[in-house]
Symmetry: C2
Subunit: 221 residues, 2 copies
Amino acid sequence: MAKLRRVVLERLMRYYRFLSESSFKKPPQTITSAQIAEALDIDPTQVRKDFGTIGLLGIGRVGFDVCEVCRAIRFNLGFDQRQEAVLIGTGHLGTALLAYSGFASYGLHIVAAFDSDSDKVGGEIAGCAVKPMRAMKPYIKRRGIRLAILTAPHEVAQKLADRLVSAGIKAIWNFAPTRLTAPPDVLVRDEHISLGLSVIAHHLAQATRPDRGQDTEGRAP
Amino acid sequence: MAKLRRVVLERLMRYYRFLSESSFKKPPQTITSAQIAEALDIDPTQVRKDFGTIGLLGIGRVGFDVCEVCRAIRFNLGFDQRQEAVLIGTGHLGTALLAYSGFASYGLHIVAAFDSDSDKVGGEIAGCAVKPMRAMKPYIKRRGIRLAILTAPHEVAQKLADRLVSAGIKAIWNFAPTRLTAPPDVLVRDEHISLGLSVIAHHLAQATRPDRGQDTEGRAP
DNA sequence: CCCCTATTGAGATTTTTTTCACGTTTACTA
DNA sequence: TAGTAAACGTGAAAAAAATCTCAATAGGGG
Ligand SMILES: NC(=O)c1ccc[n+]([C@@H]2O[C@H](COP(=O)([O-])OP(=O)(O)OC[C@H]3O[C@@H](n4cnc5c(N)ncnc54)[C@H](O)[C@@H]3O)[C@@H](O)[C@H]2O)c1
Ligand SMILES: NC(=O)c1ccc[n+]([C@@H]2O[C@H](COP(=O)([O-])OP(=O)(O)OC[C@H]3O[C@@H](n4cnc5c(N)ncnc54)[C@H](O)[C@@H]3O)[C@@H](O)[C@H]2O)c1
């Protein structure tokens, strides 16, 4: 399995989600790159190139076999392997992620949650037990967990990440607004939700104060 | 105010969050592009270029004035204007966003929430009233709200987006795993949280089944 | 005051990503 | 069975993004 670039991986995810919708599961079960491109607002050539990089071949005048595409994406993205994860920090966002049922279709299963708050420890959220922090490292080691979802406050994020790494974690999905550092063999994905706000706020600000010749003075447009 | 590209906007957001941290607010209140670059894992030239595009000039041997940089970013990203928003769908994720206090520092204030569930209507989440759907359009029109945060289920997302647009909304921050379509003057930001999963899952799958093929990396071009 | 060095701004260059252009393949129809 | 048109694969071109190079500048030490 070749290593794929981030942009490609993210597009593959979009193809997968689109094709997983039931409407394409009935015969003839084929779809053209143009149809996918249209629905996802991507160039058709890009779709074919992406499929090419994971070894998918379409057939002229017909397109691609939907099931085969899904299978190839599942394989390359590792959705065909059960992936167990732990979640650290059962606050508002942690609870939302625990309650979210959509991850199972990507092979992801959150098998335990950990929190430092003794009021939460011992409880259960969406069927997942909340355990004390001291139980974290042994749990991860014993079950060979490789993925951690970090939804703890910003201030403790890096410290928790270090503990996770020392427990043997190989990937961290970080929702705290912090850039985590970790050894090179540990993948960190910073999921900065509020980045999106920059695009939105700028768009709205643009509408409010239109560009009246700000930079090169004197040259009225 | 010039229109900025998405990649630039997102980096500006990262600079802003980094510089907002109190540690740089004390004298001498200057910072070099290299320091920012180091902390954020970005090329120093990139930092200077980004600052240049929003009209910021540094001074040789000193760097940039932190306050001035923050002010310029706030202006260009519109954080200096109070931005009121409504939230549709007060489920798990909606609740988390309502409870999140971090948005205020970007000028964003969620002033009302709407839900179709009569059990939730009339209640209050994190100090924000939950109103019935029929009240949505009048509320948006009356208060001149331009931004909507969409945290309703996938199946109803597009229909709700259409209603929001007809109510006069100019930007939609969409958390449902759907690609929304809207008129060109309405900005849609699809915040697909699970896209990050593609990168993580692929990384973990790679470790499990290393490339039994030949080369080390895709040398396609 | 003048030299030294860290740091900037901007043009040049490289790398990455997207799009175009076109020859080839395949199914359908007459 | 040949003609046609829809769809593919691929290499070239274009566009976008990131990085490199270097003269100019400014603070600080001698
Ligand atoms: N809620 C959102 O919408 C949202 C949006 C963007 C980013 N975030 C980020 O996600 C993270 C969590 O947000 P939240 O709203 O769920 O916060 P929260 O305060 O509701 O939850 C934080 C949880 O972490 C636990 N915790 C605190 N210190 C801990 C430690 N040392 N070890 C283990 N657990 C610890 C707390 O007990 C709590 O349960 C924060 O970093 C926040 O910035 C949240
Ligand atoms: N929870 C997560 O971690 C997570 C992660 C990724 C994506 N998402 C997406 O975010 C969205 C919300 O997720 P959630 O976990 O909060 O779901 P949820 O079921 O907890 O909440 C959905 C809310 O929407 C309301 N709703 C349903 N139909 C409505 C309608 N027609 N009009 C107005 N409100 C309506 C429901 O009453 C409910 O309060 C979903 O699209 C989900 O796919 C959630």
